[in-house]
Symmetry: C2
Subunit: 139 residues, 2 copies
């Protein structure tokens, strides 16, 4: 038995690909467009770890999706949580929970999927701008 993926629905595929691939840094592993069903599936995964994926489901006809409280977040281990948060912030992504502890941050996808970023190995030493950055919203 093997975990394959977590599926989330997205309202804007281009914005989602920009976030997950260009900003967060995931690889686009596969994309399948279904003309008859009018939807697209995209499979994303962390570079070098394509076994566990995120499946984006994009329905071509606009739908609205609510984000219930039952689903919490997706979590990724990252090599340098400060560098990734700096890159995300420079790209306009809000760091909802800055890595004040040098270890854990939370951001949100364009569809409000909460994403936890955890420093690989030991926590980094406290550093600005993170140490004094306040939370924004919830995650």
């Amino acid at each position: 038995m093997k975990f394959l993926h977590t599926m989330v629905r997205v309202t804007d595929l281009e914005a989602s690909l920009d976030f997950y691939c260009n900003k967060l840094g995931l690889d686009l592993v596969d994309r399948r467009d279904y003309d008859a069903g009018r939807f697209t599936l995209v499979f994303l995964a962390a570079p070098g770890d394509h076994g566990a994926q995120v499946e984006l489901t994009y329905n071509w006809d606009p739908q609205e999706y609510t984000m219930g409280r039952a689903f919490g977040h997706l979590a990724y281990e990252v090599d340098d949580v400060y560098a990734l948060c700096a890159r995300l912030m420079a790209a306009g992504v809000t760091i909802n929970r800055p890595p004040r502890d040098g270890r854990m941050a939370f951001v949100r996808s364009p569809d409000n999927v909460s994403i936890e970023l955890l420093q690989k190995g030991a926590a980094q030493a406290p550093a600005e701008p993170w140490a004094s950055m306040q939370n924004t919203g919830v995650w």
Copy 2:
């Protein structure tokens, strides 16, 4: 960068552990009880694939969680989708989408988390009771 887990909140930890471990067959990898915060975290993973996990968050003080449409499902590859569905059904789990095609089934956790079960390798030959079993609800 590496996928760690998908977090979902659960309202009944014992019922969730019974479903995910006893019925679905996941391993309990770690459990952490936080007395001060009054919550428990449980990490589950497929046997032999502990890298990608599901994190259950159980708040000791009752809360209600809605299952928004933005989150779709968790997907697992399984060795024998018929055998697993038979075991789940015998344990009282509704097979929302029976594996009529010998390949894909959907069930739901006690908190309505949708779970996709995909046959490893080639689809199995059509077989009863699955081939003629109707869908139940949505997934």
